[in-house]
Structures are given as structure tokens and as C-alpha cells.
């Protein structure tokens, strides 16, 4: 076989392979959200994290600003300590409110950040002052039932 033709076909094959890789990286996966340029870490303490997982998203106003990088239990206070890795481009005020929310009715759980009005910003290693734990469906239902029951007795 002619060597030039051979080079052409092999070049075609290699280019096609790299196009496929590019398609996987850009269209199937999401490169931009996977590697933030620079990050800093914040810590939030929750009474209950529900179904939050490591690598779960951290969102502010619905936009992904970071990922959950570590979840552990504080053995003295029995609180869940969640470490969040946030993109450097996003700075949050000191009184930002961190809560665990659910995407959709049965979707994955994520950490939502509601920015406050403080002029000082949270720095690397800071702890959120105010947090709200995950809503546990069973607790909600039992609370509802309990309220209904107490309404019934008062009448």
C-alpha cells in the first residue's frame, strides 16, 4: 500500500478518535464544572444532612459554585461537619445561610447558599454561622399528624 495513502487513513483514524474524545469531554461530560481554576474551603455544621453525598453540588441561586468535598461526624457535638470546596470566583458574605435542599421531589440533595448582607467575606477555613438541616420526610409527616391530632382534641 502507498505510504502516503496509509498516512492519510491513519491520520483520519487518529483525528476521528480525538474528535470522539472531545465529544465525550464537552458534550457528554462537563469539563468546566469539573475543575475550578482555584478553590477555597468552607465548613458548615448541620444537625442532619439527610442524603447529602460527597461530590454533591453547592449552589447559590441555582448556579453551581462548588462541590461537597468531605462529610464527617463531630464525635463530641454529634453534628455533621460538611466541608465545601468553593470556586475562587465566588465570595460570600459572613452571614451567608447554608441549607440542605433537594432538587425536585425525589432528586439529589445539594447545599444551597443564600448570601447575606455582611460586608466582610468568608475566608478559607471559615465556618458558616447559620445553617438549616435537611428536611426528613418522616419527621415532617409525623409533625403534621401530631398537629392534626392536637387540633382534634382541642375542639
Amino acid at each position: 500500500m502507498n505510504r502516503k495513502l496509509l498516512d492519510l487513513w491513519v491520520g483520519f483514524f487518529v483525528v476521528l478518535g480525538f474528535v470522539a474524545l472531545l465529544f465525550l469531554a464537552l458534550r457528554v461530560g462537563n469539563v468546566s464544572s469539573a475543575n475550578f481554576s482555584g478553590t477555597y474551603q468552607l465548613t458548615a455544621k448541620f444537625d442532619n444532612i439527610g442524603g447529602l453525598k460527597v461530590r454533591g453540588p453547592v449552589k447559590s441561586a441555582g448556579v453551581v459554585v462548588g462541590r461537597v468535598s468531605e462529610i464527617r461526624l463531630d464525635p463530641t457535638a454529634y453534628e455533621a461537619v460538611v466541608t465545601l470546596t468553593i470556586d475562587n470566583r465566588f465570595q460570600f458574605p459572613k452571614d451567608t445561610f447554608a441549607s440542605i435542599l433537594t432538587a425536585g421531589l425525589l432528586g439529589e440533595q445539594y447545599v444551597g447558599l443564600d448570601a447575606g448582607g455582611d460586608e466582610k467575606m468568608l475566608k478559607n477555613g471559615d465556618v458558616f454561622g447559620k445553617t438549616q438541616s435537611a428536611v426528613v420526610l418522616e419527621k415532617l409527616i409525623s409533625q403534621f399528624m401530631f398537629n392534626k391530632a392536637s387540633e382534634g382534641t382541642s375542639q
Binding site: 476521528l16 470522539a20 465529544f23 465525550l24 457528554v28 462537563n30 469539573a34 460527597v54 461530590r55
Partner: protein
Amino acid sequence: MLEKSFSAVTAFIQGVGHRVNGALQRLGFAARFFVMILVYSGQSFRRLHLTIREIYFSGFQSLLIILVSGLFIGLVLGMQGYETLQRYGSSDALGVLVALSLVRELGPVVAALLFASRAGSSITAEIGLMKATEQLTAMDMMAVNPIARVVAPRFWGGVISMPLLAALFSAVGVFGGYLIGVVFIGVDEGAFWSQMQGSVDFRYDIWNGIVKSFVFGVAVSLIAVFEGFDAVPTAEGVSASIKRTVVNSALAILALDFVLTSFMFRGL
């Protein structure tokens, strides 16, 4: 009586020892052979067209079977995935299912299995026949190193082709899933792609899939060239070594896949 049964037991143990010895010797030879390939790679890369020729034969010529199988696997995944997901009312997650199963597992593994039977067997047949017709010995006589001239280009051709073929397999498979899910069944196109992009991570999913296919490429190519080089130089011997290439490659791929998966995806 006792002596007879005693000698039967020794014969059995002797048989086991003989087999283990033989297997270990072959394994040792394969390891030395691998090192030899790496040592003589530089020499063979100086004549790059040899490797390019092998990429053509094992990579480019496998394109058709890889693309067609990838498309059909994607189509089937789309149908089966939809059938199961719609029971739970979450057919929007079809893209996630198709993309993750292809990129993490099916792409690297099935592409490597196809590659082993399509390209690995032909490499073994080629080298085995060269040995049977004493072409390798003739090269040695002419002071041409057969490992640098014949083995190393085929090995590197396979190693370079394999990740590209696996990526093409996954990409075509995702397209097949899109074809069935969005075009035929009518899953929402925006949800299909955005959910997929939301849950497929480049570093974690795609990169690990590429690493897998690279490891499979090394394993399949090494088995193929080794079995060819180690073939008994008769028609029967070459056919037996082709059979061993296909069987051993398949087993190696599946075993390595288990090991790699347990290291890569532990669910954290």
C-alpha cells in the same frame, strides 16, 4: 496396595508441580518479553512508518466493527433504559444511564473484547506464521532484531489504537442512545443532554474510562504478540496460540476491569 496409592498421590502432586512450573515459566518469559519490547521500542520508533502501518491494520481496519457495535449497544441501552426508567417516571435520566454505562464500563470493555478478537487474533496469526515459516530466524541471521522490527510496532499500534477505539465506541453509543431516546421515543432533548452533563464528570468518569482502555490495550497487545512469538511453529501450534490469544485476552480484560473498577469507583 498402600504403595500403589502412594505412588498415585505422588504422580498427582508431580503433575500439579509440572503445570505450575510451566505456567510460571511462561509468565516469566512473558514478563521478560514485555521488558524486551520496551527496550527495543526506541529502535522501532526510529522507523515510525512501521508503527503507523500497524495502527492502520489494527486500528483503522477495526473502525467498522467498533462503530457498528457501539451504535447497536447504544440503541439497545436506550431502549432497555427507557423501559426501566419510565416505570419510575424518571425517563429524563436516560442520558445519564446511557452515558455513564458506556463511558465507565461498556466502552472500554466491549471495545477491548472486539479489538482482541478482531486485531489481536490477526497479530498472533501473523507473528506465529512468520515464526513457522522461519522469517523471524531469517531476520535474526540478517542482524535485524525481530522484536524491534516485527513485535514492537504491532504492540504499540495496538496500545495507541485501543483508547481511540474505546472513545469512538462510547461516543457512537451515546449517539445511539440519543437516537432511540430523543428521536424515536421522544424524551425531552434538553433534559437528556443537561442531566447527562450534570452527572458525567470528566476527571472521574471519562478519564478513568480512558485509563481503563489504555490498560486493556497494553494487556491485549502484549498477549497477542507474546502468543504469536511463543507459538509452536506448526499449523496446529499457530491455531492453538490464536485460540489462546482470544481466550486469555477476554479473561485478562474482564479480570483487569474488575480490579480497576474496584480501585476507581468505590462509591466514596
